[in-house]
Symmetry: C2
Subunit: 205 residues, 2 copies
């Protein structure tokens, strides 16, 4: 047996993520990561073959957590209620509650961070981001589709675009919340999305 490198690796990843959200990826140096992680250069390059390798790992881990959380949210609300509209609203409320507990603005989304310096990243990284966003679109579109079977839309709208609005509002709210230093803004913005869906779908079929 040998000693366990996981704590070191995890520490590097956690500190790197924070630093990237503070400085951008190009604006974050390996030396800064070493300083914050309290490790040495040898340890860093033992765990990651390059800074680009770190970038890939960071986005893969972020995406995994993001999609795992989506899965949890879907399971938590699944068949909880016979009415698909109520399920949808409960799903959104879950994220409102999550965001309402924040005492400082959400540190930011790595997807957006990477999207705002696209030339720094390889195509497979960009595909990971788009495929994650498309998973959200797909899952929410399914819920909207179910809802539409029993609740007529007062204004006909494209379901995928309506599904995207969840992601759009989250991403936009992270930016504005950080810019204004208003932690509660994200929860309030998601509440508008919930309002919109309540108004858009008629109460009964």
């Amino acid at each position: 047996m040998a000693r366990d490198g996981k704590p070191t690796r995890d520490k590097i990843l956690a500190e790197s993520k924070t630093l990237v959200l503070e400085n951008g990826f190009a604006g974050t140096s390996v030396d800064q990561i070493l300083e914050r992680s309290k490790i040495t250069k040898g340890a860093f390059f033992y765990h990651f073959k390059s800074k680009a390798d770190l970038a890939r790992t960071l986005i893969e881990d972020f995406s995994s957590e993001d999609l795992a959380d989506l899965d949890n949210a879907l399971k938590e609300t699944e068949a909880l209620n016979g009415d698909p509209l109520q399920r949808l609203l409960k799903f959104i409320q879950r994220y409102i509650d999550m965001m309402a507990t924040l005492e400082s603005p959400y540190p930011g989304c790595l997807y957006a961070s990477y999207i705002y310096e696209p030339s720094q990243f390889s195509d497979d990284i960009k595909e990971k981001i788009s495929s994650s966003i498309l998973t959200w679109r797909r899952e929410l579109a399914v819920m909207l589709d179910e809802t539409q079977k029993t609740h007529r839309m007062k204004i006909p709208t494209d379901k995928e675009s309506l599904a995207d609005q969840f992601t759009v509002i989250l991403e936009g709210a992270f930016v504005v919340s950080k810019a204004l230093n208003e932690p509660q803004l994200t929860a309030h913005q998601l509440k508008h999305y919930k309002n919109y869906l309540e108004l858009l779908f008629e109460k009964r079929a």
Copy 2:
């Protein structure tokens, strides 16, 4: 007198803005700017005393254009119609139309670009960003206030938060539109905001 430096300065600013949206600010080197602008280092540092000076100029120019466009939009829709709700909807439609003409995703918002590498910028730059966003909040809140006088809200909501949603959706849509490479996404997302307002406000007082 001597030769005119304005074309050179403008070229630097235009190419820099593009590069910053492609690479981030820290990810953009002065040498890259020189290459794209086809000028030399001497010329660059003649016009800008530092790279930070360029950052400040970029955001000031961007903010000026942004707020000037807001002003135009307000004037174009001003008293065009007696009904403040119709004016509000027209205002939003103007931005939908603007975004609908894009053939590739909007290159991105400098506010968001800067917000995602906050440590790179001084406090006065961050204040410029927040004050620009707050101007949008204020102006839209006035329109919402006017609207509320004659149209009851079906779900009571905070006007400033409802005003913020315009900026939130724009910022979020820029991110998602770029990530998915879907130019039309931004227009579609703004349409949802318009739908929301139409559903939220009752047709008459």
